[in-house]
């Protein structure tokens, strides 16, 4: 994958394929430790332990249902290349948590890429409803909650480009939020100042 935003979309797609009804994605940075943590948590079908162990083996997949493909091994490789970590926690019938930790100051640290585009693309997926995307650091956290958006618009409204652009801009605004800005009064865009 060229950048982290594509990995994020890919892992979220795994959740959709695993029939998750709730997907929680987050990218958090910890500047003091020079670390970035990407997490995707779902309540999908999950995996048996032996499957989860093989899930990061690039030569393993569960065809034809293809619950696991090349995505997890690629993400693991990207994270460990920076001296980071990679974990999967999963239980059959309960769901899966994928967590990748990157060392941001490592030469092999991938670019973030267009996170707003990945989030919007996942929002467009027909199965995506209960979805949150959290982005931030220890001081400011931006939460994009699709539930809030879907109280206002229907999925069908997303066929309109100006609606899509508005949501894209919303995401960009949250992702590029500067320290000290406060969006707390707006539902759907929440910031938590710690």
């Amino acid at each position: 994958m060229d950048d982290l935003s594509l990995s994020l979309l890919d892992i979220c797609m795994n959740s959709a394929e695993a029939d998750a009804s709730t997907v929680k994605a987050s990218i958090m940075t910890y500047p003091d430790d020079h670390k970035l943590e990407m997490t995707v948590e779902d309540d999908g079908v999950g995996m048996e332990n032996d499957v989860a162990e093989k899930a990061t083996d690039p030569f393993y997949t569960q065809r034809p249902s293809r619950k696991v493909g090349l995505g997890l091994p690629l993400l693991k490789h990207a994270a460990t290349n920076t001296g980071g970590d990679f974990h999967i926690r999963t239980r059959p019938g309960k769901g899966t948590i994928v967590r990748a930790v990157f060392h941001m100051d490592h030469v092999d640290m991938p670019n973030l890429g267009d996170l707003a585009s990945s989030v919007l693309t996942f929002v467009l997926h027909p199965k995506t409803n209960d979805f949150t995307f959290t982005y931030g650091d220890v001081k400011n956290t931006f939460v994009f909650d699709l539930n809030e958006i879907l109280r206002i618009i229907d999925k069908d409204d997303l066929s309109n480009g100006s609606i899509r652009r508005y949501i894209y801009d919303m995401l960009q605004e949250g992702i590029n939020m500067k320290e000290g800005e406060n969006h707390e009064d707006i539902e759907g865009i929440k910031t938590v100042t710690r």
């Binding site: 493909g69 100006s162 609606i163």
Partner: protein, 122 residues
Amino acid sequence: MKTLKELKQLRDETRKHMNMRQKGTQTRIQVGMATCGIAAGAREVVRRFMEEIERKDLSDVYVVQVGCMGECAFEPLVEIIDTDGTSTIYAEVNEAKASEIIAEHVVRGKRIDKYTLQKVKM
């Protein structure tokens, strides 16, 4: 600053102009969005298709993201299912090809043979 209130206003405005969709008589554009597709640029291809559909006001065409289509080396793969059920699979689709596919295949009803999976694989 973007707000949900403004989104609501935008929704009301756009709904006034929205054509009612007739289910069942639509052309379906399926874009492979598994790891292989995403890595090859499917995210941008989906966006381009949606932009073109809107620009050309094609209310009877819709885009749907699907999983792996089995020919990972030729991603992004795009399957067009016409209203009569005919299926065409295009390979190595990029944004420019997506615009061409809309103009030629979807609007004019002329399949672009040189972009089909069959031809690209040869």
